[in-house]
Each structure stands twice: as C-alpha cells, then as structure tokens.
Amino acid sequence: MCLAIPGKVVDLYREHDVLMGKVDFGGVAKRVCLEHTPEVQPGQYVIVHVGFALQVVDEEEAKQVFSFLEGMNELGELQTDQT
C-alpha cells in the first residue's frame, strides 16, 4: 500500500470545496486530490498515492543522491591515480 508515484501538476480546481488537480504521469493524466498539498503550483511534482498527493517533491533534495555519486566518482579517480 506504499506504492506512490511522482506526477506533474498541470492545473488546479475545486470540487465539493476540496482542492483537486489534473496531474500528469508521463503522458497519462489523472484527477488527484491536492487538499493535503495546498501550496502546490502547476509545474511542480507531487507524490501520489491512491488518488491523493502526499507531498510536493523537493527538487533540490532530489539531486542529492547524484551529487553524492559525483563526490564518490572524484574519490574513485583519486584512488586509481595512486595505484
């Protein structure tokens, strides 16, 4: 039940006084409830679980693992030079 996937918010609207959005998942659009991510703007990504956005994707933090790998890369090159 932890399956949640990232999608891009395309537009926002209200239905039954609840914030909803059209969210795009690589070409497939779905209606998603955005009530728990009220500050989200079109263009941002959200993590969606059973038709609800649980959190807005932090784009800065998303790069973290790649900068970590780059750092390791540089370390790797250093070790090859010394052998």
Binding site: D17, T37, G51
Partner: protein, 369 residues
C-alpha cells in the same frame, strides 16, 4: 518519467553497489519494513547485488498480508449482502478467507468493485442511493489521510449510505514488536519512505535510541534502496544510531501536517491483531466515536465467525523476517499466486508473491562482482 527514471540508472546503481562493498567489514542484518520496498528489491535484484555479508530480511509492511482472517471473513459476509456495494483496492480480492475470497463473492453475483481511490466510493454512493457502499479501508499510515478524507467528506456532504471496514495498521509498533522479540536478528532498518512522507520521522528517533539501532528513511527506486542500504551499513560500521533521511525529496521531518491533523480528527489509535503475528498493542487505527455511523463493523453486526487458517502456510514467520518464501514447503508447489494459501502470496507487496513472480525459487543468488 521524471523523478522515477533517473533513479533506475544502472551505472549509478553499480557505483552504489561498489560503495557498499567497499565499506562492509562484518556481517549485518537489515530489515526493510515496507512491502513495496520488498517488491522493488526482488524485482530489481537489489539484494543479489549486495556483498554476501549484508543480509536483507523482509518485514511485515504489507497491510493486505497482516489483515486478520476474521476481518477478511467479515468483509466477505458483508460483501455477500444484496444491499451492499463492496469496494476495495484490487489485491484484497483474492486474499483467501476461511472458505472463499471476495472474488468468489463477485463470481457468485455479489456487487464487489475495485476502486483506485477512496473518493471513488463516495461517487458510487451518490449514484446508488438505495444501496450501501462499504469500503475496505486497508493500509498503513500512507493510506490514512485518503481514507480520513473520504469519511470526512461523507459527513460533510451528508452521504449516509457509506461505511468503511477499517484495517489500518501502524509501522513503529510493528518495528518495536520485532526488536523486542527474543529471536530478533535485525540490526538496522530501512524506514518506509511513503509512510514517513505522511508521518515524518520524529516518532522513529526515540525508537532508534531505545534499541540503539540505525533507521534510514528509504524510497522505492533502485538508487533509493541502494543509497538507503549504503547509509545503513555506513552507520552500522561506525556504531552510529539514530535516524537518517536520504529520501528527503519526499520526506520532511514533520511529515505532512495537514494530512496528519485530518487523520487525528477522524481516527484514534487502538490495539490491532496482525495476521501471523498476533495482537500488537496500540498498533492500529479505528474510527473515533463521532464517526461511528461510518463504521461497517458496527453497522453490519456479523455473528461470531469460525476462522480456519491453512495449517501449511508460514506467512507469519515470513512477515517477521524469520523465514524466507523459498524455505516454505508449499512455495511454488501447492501455493502459487493463482492458488494462494496465504496473504503473502496474494498481495502485490507480499514477499512470497515477489519471490515467485521474479523467479526466486531457490532464494538469493549473489551476482558476481
């Protein structure tokens, strides 16, 4: 797809794999709690990429698998009633009850429908005013805000022909139960990333201190899992305890406050029975008294049902990480996804289903470096 594809890069995965091998000096046993993570690990062969000293054991993070047999039988009894439209997520339909499953009820003419979101049930209720829509609200904390929203919306919009059959369980009490067991071998945890997206990870900090273990909040893609394992091994090697969060793109320390507030308004914590494990105190959610009219258990008082577990199925041992699926004598023989003996073979997040579907008939075969 952005925020998904790039976390499946095989070159980056190899680098993380080498990094893990480079820091591992002694054997470690790490448990991933969440069934979604188990599935991803087996699908991408993450455990087979690890050095043999690092062992991953699978936890009870499959809410379908831990829903008690009595509740499945109750759901079946309710779904069979002619005035009920029974709605559920897909994988609950083939979980075996004592005699049959929800799919059998549907085949016999019962109105059983698969829904994607709990909100879909409200629409069905409005379109069918002469029937009662009952939703099987199964899940961990991740699914609690959507379920709370459905109940709250029903109350606000005056939808009376709607009820929920609640089977909500919580992760930290399960982790505590595993760590407190005298046979526990788990030395570190990969925390359930999407549970933490909702709940945050504040409640894991005292748990980590009490049991002196590392807990690493981990995502679901291959790079997320490898990074989580790397961080966990790193902490274990350094004797470091506490909580770390490499899944920061989806998880903040306080989680999602508005979502948590809504859950608190609709649900309260109570004791829960976990199939295959037993009752874990304060480990589940139930509707607050002010929402009692939406509780399917009281609305459809079903007489005491006699439950019949399979005497061959070892789901309970698998859910606690004590046995692996291929160690079960019935695995792949009398128990397959088409004819499951227990829930761990049926659910898309069950360890047995994962092992079977990805060809793990003989367990883990480490990939040579």
């Amino acid at each position: 797809m952005k925020y998904q594809q790039e976390y499946r890069d095989p070159v980056a995965a190899q680098k993380l794999r080498q990094a893990i091998a480079g820091i591992t000096t002694q054997p470690w046993t790490i448990m991933e709690v969440c069934g979604g993570q188990t599935h991803s690990i087996v699908k991408y062969g993450i455990d087979e990429l690890l050095p043999p000293k690092v062992e991953l054991v699978h936890g009870p993070g499959c809410p379908v698998c831990v829903t008690p047999l009595e509740l499945i039988d109750r759901a079946i009894a309710i779904a069979a009633r002619p005035e009920v439209i029974f709605c559920s997520f897909g994988d609950m339909l083939r979980v075996p009850g004592s005699k049959r499953d929800l799919f059998d009820v549907k085949a016999a003419g019962g109105d059983v429908r698969i829904v994607y979101s709990p909100l879909d049930c409200l629409k069905i209720a409005e379109q069918n005013p002469d029937r009662t829509v009952v939703f099987f609200a199964v899940g961990f904390e991740t699914t609690s805000p959507p379920n709370a929203m459905a109940v709250m919306q029903a109350k606000r919009r005056g939808i009376k022909n709607f009820a929920v059959l609640v089977s909500h369980v919580l992760v930290p009490p399960a982790m505590r139960a595993i760590l407190s067991s005298p046979t526990n071998r788990v030395q570190g945890f990969l925390g359930a990333g999407h549970v933490c997206a909702v709940m945050g990870y504040e409640e894991y900090e005292p748990l980590a201190q009490e049991f002196q273990i590392p807990i690493v909040v981990t995502g679901f893609e291959p790079l997320d899992l490898l990074e989580g394992i790397y961080r966990c091994v790193s902490m274990l090697e350094a004797g470091k305890v506490g909580v770390e969060n490499p899944y920061a793109r989806a998880v903040r320390r306080e989680g999602n406050r508005p979502a948590r507030q809504l859950v608190d308004e609709v649900f309260e914590v109570g004791d829960r029975k976990w199939r295959g494990i037993g009752t874990i105190p304060q480990s589940g959610l139930k509707l607050r008294p002010e929402f009692a009219e939406y509780d399917a258990e009281t609305r459809f008082a079903v007489s005491q049902l006699e439950v019949l577990e399979s005497d061959v199925c070892i789901s309970g041992l698998i859910l606690q990480g004590i046995r692996k699926p291929h160690e079960c004598p019935a695995f792949g023989k009398t128990c397959t996804p088409e004819r499951p003996l227990g829930a761990t073979m049926v659910s898309s997040e069950g360890a047995c289903a994962a092992y079977y579907n990805y060809g793990r008939y003989r367990g883990t075969t480490p990939v040579p470096v």
